[in-house]
Amino acid sequence: MEIVIHIVTVLVVLFVVLNIAAGLIWVERRLLALWQDRYGPNRVGPLGLMQVAADTIKLFFKEDWVPPFADKGVFILAPAIVMLTVLMSFTVLPFAPGMQITDLNIGLLFVLAMSSLGVYSVVLGGWSSDNKYSLLGGLRAAAQMLGYEVFMGLALMGVVLMAGSFSLRAIVDAQSKMWFIVPQFVGFVLFLIAGAAEMRRLPFDIPEAESELVAGFHSEYSGMKFGMFFVGEYVGVVLISALISILFLGGWHGPLLPPIVWFLIKMFAFIAFFILLRAGLPRPRFDQLMSWGWKIMLPLALANLLVTGAIVLAVK
Amino acid sequence: MTKIFVDGRPFDVPENQSMLQACLTLGFDLPYFCWHPALGSVGACRQCAVKQYRDEKDSRGRIVMSCMTPVAEGVRISIRDAESVSFRAAVIEGLMQSHPHDCPVCDEGGECHLQDMTVMTGHAYRRYRFSKRTFRNQNLGPLVNHEMNRCIQCYRCVRYYREYAGGHDLKEFVLRNLVYFGRQNDGVLENEFAGNLVEICPTGVFTDKTLKQHYTRKWDLQLAPSVCVHCGIGCNTSPGERYGTLRRIVNRYNGEVNGYFLCDRGRFGYEFVNSPERLRQPRLQKGGQGETADGPVALVHARKLLDGGKVIGIGSPRASLEANFALRTLVGQERFFAGVEDEEHRLTARMLEILRSGLARSPSLGEIEKADAVLVLGEDVTQTAPRMALSLRQSVRQQPFELVDKLQIPRWLDHAAREAVQDAKGPFFVAAPHPTKLDDVAAATYRASPDDLARLGFAVAHAIDSSAPDVPQLTDGVRALAGRIAEALKNAKRPLVVSGPSLKCEALIQAAANVAWALCRAGKPAALSFTAPECNTLGLGLMAARPLGEAQQALKSGEADTIVILENDLYRRAPREQVDALLASARHLIVLDYLETSTTHKAEVVFPSAPFAECEGTFISNEGRAQRAFQVYVPEGGIRAAWQWLRDLLIASGANGAAAWQGVDDVLKTLAGSLPAFSAVPQAAPSAAFRMAGEKVAREPHRYSGRTAMHANINVSEPKPPDDPESPLSFSMEGVSEQPPPALIPFFWSPGWNSIQSVNKFQQEIAGPLRGGDPGVRVIEPAKPTEPDGPAGPDGNARADFLGAPPAVFEPQPDRVLLVPIYHVFGSDETSQRAPAIRELTPKPYVALDSEAARRFGLNDGDLAEVAVNGAVERLPVKVRDGMAAGVAGLPVGLPGIENCRLPAWARITRP
């Protein structure tokens, strides 16, 4: 019986997450249009909502083309990795009290591990395409992930120190009085930036910068393989937004409204924020990106950890 | 070479040129109107003004007309000088005052010298606000259109027409700003070279009226280098096509051959290609009933007919070398017959023998122009080889030029040179049975029957070299004339004798050869030019075909039972009964031709072959110059080149060697290998493999328009442009951007020079050869003398024996006349006759009588006469033509209705 409930939970989470990710395609286009004084998709279905369905159908019916020069096995594997790793992270997220697939005591580490593994999909996809643009995209992705992963983890250590646990549920519970965004504001900002970089969202979409690299690591992908990269990115946005809500904004905590609503409000606010970033900011140069990560963000994260550690020690 | 300075830069230029010519040779863009390379300078239009400086210190200079200023050592001029620039702009503004604002509907637009020069000088806005003078136009006949409002009064037309071409019916009228160029009254321009006004006129006063029927701008034409097929001269032409029909022909400059000019037959005769009488699909016929068939079906059918192997082929002097050779290969050398009258065949062989084994060289038209003493023996050149007549007309200026030189007047200073010589003309003698159009420049004319003309020739030869056969019973007058001619020829530097087969008189040809050889033996570089009746007469002649008369025997003896006739209407070659008999005795008849003829009606299988604009072919001109005519466009329907049909027949009948004939190049290679006379022919043009910078030569100008719409009504998806694996040209606007080699120039165009005058940019030197040499390769040369530098002498291989013997004196008969052929530039040629514009000018059949003879037969001008000749009786109107030789009457050649009368022949003329 336990197992059945677990499976149902898993399936519900999977269904909801995937639907949110797919819906995000529509949300993002509408929001971008709103901020650019346009309408965005508004023809297919009410408010253009069926645009997602139309796009999905289109993707399914496109020719599933594997270039003859590509490394076939790796080429097919790469898009699967991205979906797999991102979805795996959702297993440990507490959406509301009792709404969680599993509460690992090292939940946060698990999430970080999964997001690190995600880089393989990009690197392998870029390498197996046997195309100079794809390879360059893959290389950039590797370098970028490496640089931003380090301080992403470090930025979260402040939260861990304050909560005293790696369990995400424990971290949410630790915020019942005060959200960590207040004491850990620097960590929040660092994580926000690192999250965007980790998900290769604009302005950090350098691995697929279309003005330089055609479409970067997924230049050669088409049909549903491309679709997996595409949806994987949106699932990633959902994941990072959910994580931010959980780690810094108290997760489901909030007055009046049921916990899950609070959680969703917070999460969607950050999703909207990521879309706003895309609407507002230009893409930096790759060397700027790298020096920004290593020379500013990393020292800042270390300093934040040091100060937090010192304060926590002093208070205890 | 002389050094001049243009805008401070030194240049070496040839002497004896005007500054304008030198500047154009150097590639400078200097505007001009009244000057023309063939007409010289008169300084009338003031357009070519430049600044001339005394020396390098002179900064003021003075404005001079560059066309009137000779080049001299150290002369300094400036083209870019501001004052001369504004002077030129002012001149053109003045010229444009009354220009009628009708460029959009002007046929010259887009290839207008006036447009080019206006753009060149930068005159862009009209300031003149007052009223324009206007003129009424004249109807100048079916060839040339007249639109006088456009005139800028440069006088080029009348200078060309009167002084160069010898016409009389075009002149300037009125005065001041009302000067008018036209005829006294409306009427057809009489000169045979009037069509050149289209190119001479710098603007749209004279335009091509046949083009107007299907008007197309120059940039929209698809063109290819071609060769005129309407006589034996081989003038170079650029035919242009649009929407699948031939639109017009313009001159293609060849310094050695036609230079800047064509005759009207060549320029306007092209319309037969668009004729509704064209054969467009193979046809299988039986008993007069025909049905069209596809190519493969017709080939299978024809192959069955050829199966017996007893086939004879009849070639054609109007078919290309390739086609004739393919036929010769199909039927075998022994069974290849010349498709010409036996007499003409014999004369052609004789002319070839004379030119190939004799002493005298056959001159190009360029050399004919430079001849300074000419004897025309028995040939009405204006009608049989028109373009040569224009060159002969220039030759009479050669001797008077010596006086011009003595007065130190440059020869190109046209007005002064003409003033200096007044009416003086060089020695030019015409001997013909009737008046000719060249008589007006002749120092003396001689009218006699063909035999008597030959006797004059023999007498001249004897007078030059006493070892030549003497002529008995010569009257004193003729002897004196012969002596005078001999004297003139002997005193000339470059004497020339012109004769030909048109009177069908072998003695004439022998006499002409004797005169030339006598001169050669006297150490003169004498030239001997024979006209050729058709575009490939000499090419066919060199193939050593059997005479047509033997074909009958071949059929009768059972040697053969099937005839293949190549592009030939036998009914024009022999009397009707003979041809009927010949065709009747054949079991099967296969004909290849591009026009319906009486012969195609009799055929069992008719293959539609391609005329000159629709296939590639090589022709040998009367000079012995092999020239390639390239395909202009791909014809619709089942039309293919004759040699391609014959090749497929060859392959079908198992001759595998022919399968290698992929293009004209391959056929010519085989031809050159098997007949040594043709060994040089493949060099007439670059092979199909030729590329410049990896590209072919484009047949279409780079501004060719309408590619994506011209066929859109049939199918909106554009067809791929046709491939042309057979030639170095492409059916496309994509191709080399540099100047192609001279044999491959489809059209003349240069940036800023849209008119035909852009040829300036293609010449090594203005009015000189094209860059890379004038196209064509000579395949007929006289035998070499053994002494390398000495004059051609009687030793070595060269043949020195004088030929033949003078014929007996011609005795006029009281009751009969000798009918001699009279040729007509419009009408005597088989193909141009089918062009509507030419047909309009073709005379109706007639019999020409001297007024004395007419009186004797009781006939008046216009009366119907019964002419009994060769056993047939024709009813023809009489045309009284004074000046015909005594006892001689004339009958036009080749006119529809009387095309198969063999002449000369004795005839009885009676009142019906």
């Binding site: 900011l281 | 509907v105 009125v174 001041r176 929209d220």
Partner: protein, 171 residues
């Protein structure tokens, strides 16, 4: 850093600005008369065809989508025997209109000429010719040009003197 935040704030403020998109099929946009849409052939004020078949539009066309053939009526007035535009190739650049010396060819603000069948995008003269003078009322090429056509003899165009008497020698 501040500029980034300001940028984001400014972008966010666009949420409250009106949209510039025009919802086309329901809402028709205003197109200026000089908009470069469907090509037409106009007529002169007298109702005659303005096109004199000079080929300048065809040669100006960068995609070579105009083909025509000139012909003349018995009085010498030149016109197009056929005039074809392949709109499936046309790029609506307007160079034909600029090249036209008689204001005959004009681009109009109509752009609704889509077809499912490309072949239907081939317009012949009958499809192109309209009944009026289009954007340029008043101009008639033949009144200016010094050629003779039916109804207008030599010397009757604007600013022309009567034809000269060519057999006169009077100064």
């Amino acid at each position: 850093m501040f500029s980034i935040i300001r940028t984001l704030w400014n972008v966010l403020l666009h949420s409250f600005q009106p949209r510039v998109t025009i919802q086309y099929p329901e809402e028709k946009p205003y197109l200026a008369p000089r908009y470069r849409g469907r090509i037409i052939l106009s007529r002169d004020p007298d109702g005659g065809e303005r096109c004199v078949a000079c080929y300048l539009c065809a040669v100006a066309c960068p995609v070579d989508c105009i083909a025509l053939q000139a012909t003349e009526d018995p009085t010498g007035r030149r016109y197009a025997e056929f005039f074809r535009i392949n709109f499936s190739r046309c790029i609506f650049c307007g160079l034909c209109e600029e090249a036209c010396p008689t204001y005959a060819i004009q681009l109009t603000p109509d752009f609704e000429i889509c077809e499912y069948d490309r072949q239907k995008l081939v317009y012949e003269k009958e499809d192109l010719t309209i009944s009026g003078p289009g954007k340029y009322p008043g101009y008639n090429f033949w009144r200016v040009a010094g050629v003779k056509i039916g109804g207008k003899d030599k010397g009757q165009a604007e600013r022309e003197e009567p034809p000269a008497e060519i057999h006169s020698l009077l100064p």
